[in-house]
Amino acid sequence: MFTNNPFAAVTDFFSPLAMQIYIVLMVLAVVIGTLLDVYHKGSAKFFAQRKAKSRAAAERPLSGGETFSLALETVAEAGVSGEFCKWPRRLSHLLMMYGFFIYITTTVVLVFCYPSAASVPAILSGLWTLGASMILAGGLWFFFLLRVNVAFDGDSPFHLGRADLFVVSLIASVAFALLWNYAQTAYANPAATWITFGLYIFFTTLLFVGVPWSKFAHMFFKPAVAFQRRVEEANGSSDLPSPSAENYIVRS
């Protein structure tokens, strides 16, 4: 299972080019979906207005070097999901985020570099499985235990809403990807293989085509907002009060 290239079996029915075109179409779906989301919510207009407001209220303009340093700090914060204040949400988010990067990268490498090779380097196949498993672990933990409407708002852990479109399609996509890989290697049942493959493609397509209606685009918006906030704090235009100079905690 850990050296198997699940995509090689598909080449019996679809050419490697078809799989590569599918990936390109999914990338286009994300780009178009994000642009539609930006247009629908007016996010670009909002950010432009906020930037202009911040520049007008700035107490001191930032140099290019300072702005670059703030951008690096934002990337570092996003890299450890530093915006989350509670460690379980942070850990679950990190599992999903790094799992997603590993899973997507290895999928692209497998489809573009080893499209018809049944056996691939163990590291590649192992990373693909690891990435999918990380998403599954973080996603199920988040879905059943950490979702704020479940943890604080009294909803059932099985409650489904539009806010869940992203996480549910992501979890289902990787779950069926793992089952599909397992069905090919351990179970070797053609019917099970094709059923799990069909469900894998359905949920993967839903994940990427559903961008305008899901929370997928938050992975682009959140770092943009975090960067803008850092700029506002640095140039003195933040609307928040200044941090207190005194510490009033006198006893543990």
């Binding site: 915006e83 989350f84 204040c85 509670k86 949400r89 979702r147 704020v148 409407n149 943890a151 604080f152 708002d153 809403g161 539009r162 806010a163 929370k215 907002v225 906030r229 609307d239 928040l240 009060p241 200044s242 941090p243 207190s244 005194e246 510490n247 009033y248 905690i249 006198v250 006893r251 543990s252």
Partner: protein
């Protein structure tokens, strides 16, 4: 004016939902961020404003310290035991206030259920439950009451 959540700051942690005494802070079913479901039932207790770890909730100040047309922002610094307020008045003036809120670390006060259950003899005591240890003071030993012979 009721509370207002800045969606770009909120990370959907649920602290405001948990603390709202009116139970009107809920989670948006589309964006999974908090919002006030019943603005006219908000009595502006500021609980959610002070509980929000992301400083994402904005509220209008009471009329006795900020007349109409202003904006109030709050900064929560639990590690320093202080909450600061910044008021932007409608004529553009800015005022900042820092309010110490406690002298012990956030979350360090034990809730009543974490103390041992008092036995029945405690019902005859003049002290309240878990006193004096819950007050972090040593209770003075009072001299015995002397009765006249």
């Amino acid at each position: 004016m009721p509370t207002y959540t800045d969606m770009t700051r909120c990370d959907g942690c649920g602290e405001c939902v948990d603390i709202c005494p009116s139970d009107i802070m809920h989670i948006d079913p589309i964006y999974r961020r908090s919002y006030n479901i019943e603005p006219n039932m908000c009595w502006e207790c500021y609980s959610c404003v002070k509980a929000c770890p992301q400083n994402a909730i904005d509220v209008r100040g009471y009329a006795d310290f900020a007349p109409l047309g202003h904006k109030v922002r709050v900064l929560r610094e639990p590690e320093k035991g202080v909450i600061s307020w910044k008021i932007r008045y409608r004529d553009g003036r800015l005022k900042e206030f820092a309010f110490p809120i406690r002298t012990t670390p956030w979350g360090s006060i034990k809730p009543p259920q974490d103390y041992e259950k008092p036995d029945m003899s405690a019902i005859g005591s003049q002290m309240l439950a878990h006193e004096p240890e819950a007050l972090h003071v040593e209770f003075p030993v009072l001299p015995a009451y002397k009765t006249r012979a």
